[in-house]
């Protein structure tokens, strides 16, 4: 049990730290789940910037309005994908986040309007939108906990639980509000906090950035994040070592529900009205962003940086297609291709190791 046996490990770590910057970068790309997508993201950005510099009049990628629109479009899906991605790492799915996105936003906006939170109302209340938002977020979180309890109590795939929940929340939205769109023009300071801008940077993208940083610390530096990876990577091992998978997964589901509600409310505040069917299909876009960002479908692998890059890359491509005046349906074709290419690239990199 002499300490000298650690010498070769210290040597190896020293060698690791002494690598050249290029070698470090290559190793990072090869070992990190988001490595491949980071390369692709940088290449796309270089191509776009080069294109914009070469053809400043016909390809307005760097124009202020374009950057503002691009950032705005990233935020809601990004916020939703953070929750979906954390849940995927813990080894579960939530297909109902798109329906929850609408339901929670509708509830939040309805309550806010009832409590006098509409900017045009007589004697408008500045606190009402916050009250509505709190209820919306609470419903999202509670819905996540219910999905978790049903999934774990009856030991069924979360894919099934949340497929049912998706239809349930979709129906609940129509039951609660009907199919008409709902006006959501909240009073100050809510409006500035969620719909203001700092130059080209809209408030929603700042919220996305703030939550991405918070989630990065939770997932990669907090004990509970380590448990998400353990439970998603090998549940039997996690149980054997004393991690409670039920508790861990309930937290992950609750996070996904909370983030779905938040993204719905943030998006509603930006647009100024909420469509009851507006969230349909977004769950798949959020899952696609995570998969493109290097998340394993079976859990245990992924990162916050991957979610951010995956979302940004998807919307960069959409933006480029719009700038090139391609018809809208091109977007989905490209996202479809991108998912498959991203997974193939990730697998190829992993096999090389």
């Amino acid at each position: 049990m002499s300490v000298s046996q650690s010498a070769h490990i210290h040597a190896a770590i020293a060698a690791r730290n002494d690598r050249s910057l290029a070698a470090k970068a290559i190793d990072w790309i090869r070992t990190r789940p988001e490595g491949g997508i980071a390369v692709l993201f940088v290449l796309v950005q270089i191509a776009c910037v080069a294109g914009a510099l070469a053809f400043p009049t016909s390809f307005r990628y760097l124009s202020e309005p374009n950057i503002a629109v691009l950032l705005k479009s990233i935020a809601p899906i990004g916020i939703m994908a953070l929750g979906v991605g954390v849940l995927m790492i813990a080894g579960e799915f939530d297909l109902s986040v798109g329906a929850l996105y609408s339901f929670c936003a509708i509830v939040a906006a309805t309550l806010s309007n009832q409590w006098g939170g509409d900017a045009g109302a007589e004697g408008a209340s500045s606190l009402a939108p916050f009250g509505g938002m709190l209820v919306g977020l609470a419903i999202g979180t509670l819905a996540g906990v219910i999905h978790a309890l049903v999934t774990l109590r009856f030991n069924i795939p979360s894919f099934i639980t949340t497929l049912g929940a998706m239809l349930l929340w979709k129906g609940a939205t129509l039951l609660y509000h009907g199919a008409a769109s709902l006006r959501f023009k909240p009073t100050e300071p809510f409006d500035t906090i969620f719909d203001g801008s700092l130059g080209v940077v809209h408030a929603s993208i700042i919220w996305f950035a703030v939550f991405a940083v918070i989630f990065h610390f939770i997932l990669h530096h907090h004990r509970i994040g380590n448990h998400f990876f353990a439970v998603g990577g090998n549940q039997k091992a996690a149980v054997a070592i004393g991690i409670n998978p039920t508790r861990t997964k309930i937290i992950a589901f609750a996070i996904a529900g909370f983030m779905a509600a938040l993204s719905g409310i943030v998006a509603g505040a930006r647009v100024g009205s909420i469509q009851p069917g507006g969230g349909l299909g977004l769950e798949l876009v959020a899952i696609a962003a995570c998969v493109i960002g290097g998340h394993a479908l079976m859990g245990g692998r992924g990162s916050i940086l991957g979610i951010v890059l995956g979302t940004c890359l998807m919307f960069t491509i959409q933006d480029v297609l719009l700038l090139l005046r391609a018809p809208g349906f091109y977007f989905e074709m490209f996202v479809g291709g991108l998912i498959v290419v991203a997974v193939i690239t990730n697998m190829a990199i992993r096999r090389k190791n």
Partner: protein, 268 residues
């Protein structure tokens, strides 16, 4: 509930098991009395008695399907008995989850290695027992330092040089070694080793058996589950041979021979 299931067992039990045995000297660290484990109609453990004394290495032997792994999983708390009593240092305990067995001072190295392939070695070692500050944020530096020490001192692990390496990239022997290193680091009173040498090289096996002896001299008792009677004879103080969920032979090392133990494993 308990009474009903016990009564049922007496109907299902194939035969009255013989109960040979060595009486525990003093209060054992862990004692299991009349343990029955049934999976539906199948009786995996049939009124098994087993104990681990202080400063003792027990060899748990038997052919495949004898119930050794069932017993080990029970002691590590992930497989509660259908009926029977468990005592830790003389006090009655229930081992219904991992936390219970941890409280009883038991640490296990599993046959189907309890590691997460997609996580680095350090994260695996501290999985569920992270070193954190008071807000639950992990102290990466402290964990890495300890991991280096563990990897260097516990078992000579061939080829593992970076604690940040993902476990999925390790060989079977290296994985086993990480699992052993982890269990040894968090050692309590009792270390359970379920077929620990199955994936190890000859040299790694020698190191492991030496380590079990070292641990004994430091006061940690072990249970070594193995097919290999020669390995068992190198380190064990007492042998328990199981067959069809029951104990068929038990003897102290000084009272038996390798031939006699082999005979019982093969014959029963």
């Amino acid at each position: 509930m308990m009474n009903a299931s016990t009564a049922k067992v007496e109907v299902i039990a194939p035969r009255e098991p013989r109960s040979p045995g060595v009486k525990p000297a003093g209060t054992p660290l862990l004692e299991m009395r009349n343990i029955v484990k049934r999976y539906g109609a199948f009786v995996a453990l049939n009124r098994m008695n087993f104990h681990i004394g202080e400063n003792e290495v027990v060899g748990l032997l038997g052919d495949n399907g004898a119930g050794k792994s069932t017993l080990v999983k029970m002691m590590s708390g992930i497989n509660p008995p259908t009926s029977g009593e468990i005592y830790a240092r003389g006090g009655k305990v229930a081992l219904n989850c991992r936390a219970d067995s941890e409280a009883a001072g038991i640490e296990t190295i599993y046959q189907d290695i309890a590691l997460v392939d997609s996580m680095p070695i350090t994260r695996n070692i501290f999985m569920g027992r992270e070193i954190t500050n008071r807000w639950g944020f992990m102290k990466h530096k402290a964990m890495e330092r300890t991991a280096i020490e563990i990897l260097g001192s516990a078992v000579q692990i061939s080829g593992i040089d970076d604690p940040e390496k993902e476990v999925g990239f390790l060989s079977g022997g290296q994985k086993q070694a990480v699992a052993i290193a982890r269990a040894v680091h968090f050692k309590r009173n009792i270390l359970l080793l379920d077929e620990p040498t199955s994936a190890l090289s000859v040299r790694e096996t020698e190191h492991l058996l030496g380590y079990v002896r070292d641990l004994k001299s430091e006061g940690t008792s072990s249970v070594l589950v193995t097919h290999n009677i020669y390995h068992a004879f190198q380190v064990c103080d007492r042998f328990v041979v199981m067959s069809h969920g029951a104990k068929v032979f038990e003897a102290r090392k000084e009272d038996t021979t390798i031939e006699e133990v082999t005979d019982h494993v093969i014959r029963t």
